[in-house]
Symmetry: C2
Subunit: 191 residues, 2 copies
């Protein structure tokens, strides 16, 4: 049974232990053995739930990425998908990232596998795709559409990479303004 109490207890112990260790050392330096010792879980048991430490971290990130989606969505909903009416203080993604800065610092770390980046990428890309449909913009032919979407998606993530490199020093409001400026001189989906 999937909802076996023992399974839940084991996984929660491991996840909790991971958060504890992350207070002390970077994700890449946390071994399975150490995690299991702290969680008081047999190392063999670990492997029947996760393949590596990253799989444990991924659980947290999935929740956060879901929240990212909400943050991204907000101005679209407020403007009823009329992007022209969007203004800087409606943008929530940078506030969201700032809120979970500890996690995003891990995601953008140069030692961390691309999988987290792709998790974020997919989430943003799917939303942009959906918002185009809702905005009733004519879809281009299939392949161009795909490339255009990935181009746009990754451009947004480029801002986050730059923010990361600036150690999240730029404040979120400032970034909101910059994004508005950029997409106004640079709106690929304008009619």
């Amino acid at each position: 049974m999937k909802h076996d109490l023992r399974v839940i207890k084991t996984q929660e112990s491991l996840r909790h232990a991971l958060l504890e260790l992350l207070k002390v050392k970077p994700l890449e330096d946390i071994s399975i053995a150490e995690l299991c010792r702290l969680a008081q879980i047999n190392r063999g048991t670990f492997y029947s739930h996760y393949k590596n430490v990253h799989q444990v971290f991924k659980h947290y990130l999935e929740v956060i990425v879901e929240d990212f989606r909400r943050a991204y969505e907000e101005p679209y909903i407020k403007t009823r998908f009329k992007i022209e009416n969007m203004n800087a203080d409606m943008i929530q993604i940078f506030h969201h990232v700032k809120k979970y800065q500890d996690f995003y610092q891990i995601v953008f770390d140069h030692r961390i596998p691309m999988m987290y980046y792709y998790l974020l990428f997919d989430s943003v890309r799917t939303f942009i795709e959906e918002s185009l449909v809702k905005n009733q913009i004519d879809k281009e032919e299939g392949t161009l559409e795909d490339y255009l979407l990935s181009y746009q998606t990754n451009a947004i993530l480029g801002l986050l990479i730059e923010w990361h490199r600036k150690d999240y020093q730029t404040n979120a409001e400032e970034l909101n303004k910059q994004l508005i400026t950029i997409i106004s001189l640079n709106s690929p989906f304008r009619n």
Copy 2:
């Protein structure tokens, strides 16, 4: 001495052995021990040259990224930095990536650390920055400039991510056309 013949021999053996192993298994599955066995290098010696297998691979990637730069530069030089005059068959980056597809498949793999992506990112970003200077476009104020550059840079890399996901099926000429289409509806540095 840095040019000690023994050092050169050791490093070349390791690099050569890595290429051999890459024909057989993915980078993430290659252990230091295995690499050293094949290269006939003592494992202790490995650590006095490299920290991990990625550092060995990085050597190759640096050469390739330098070639990427040349590919990126080509249309700018041909048009003497007048982007308006650029046309699809001048673009060389996709041909370049196709040529080194085996390597880019590794770079964009979800298990691989972000470091390679950043290596590419930095190279592209630096070139875009330089090309703006040569194109004598007024620089914006410092911070916006940084974010705009990273936005643009990552947008380009978004195309490569999409290509990777399509298993490099789209042909390079097609991609050239798509890029021209995208940047024509979407040129942030237009005057």
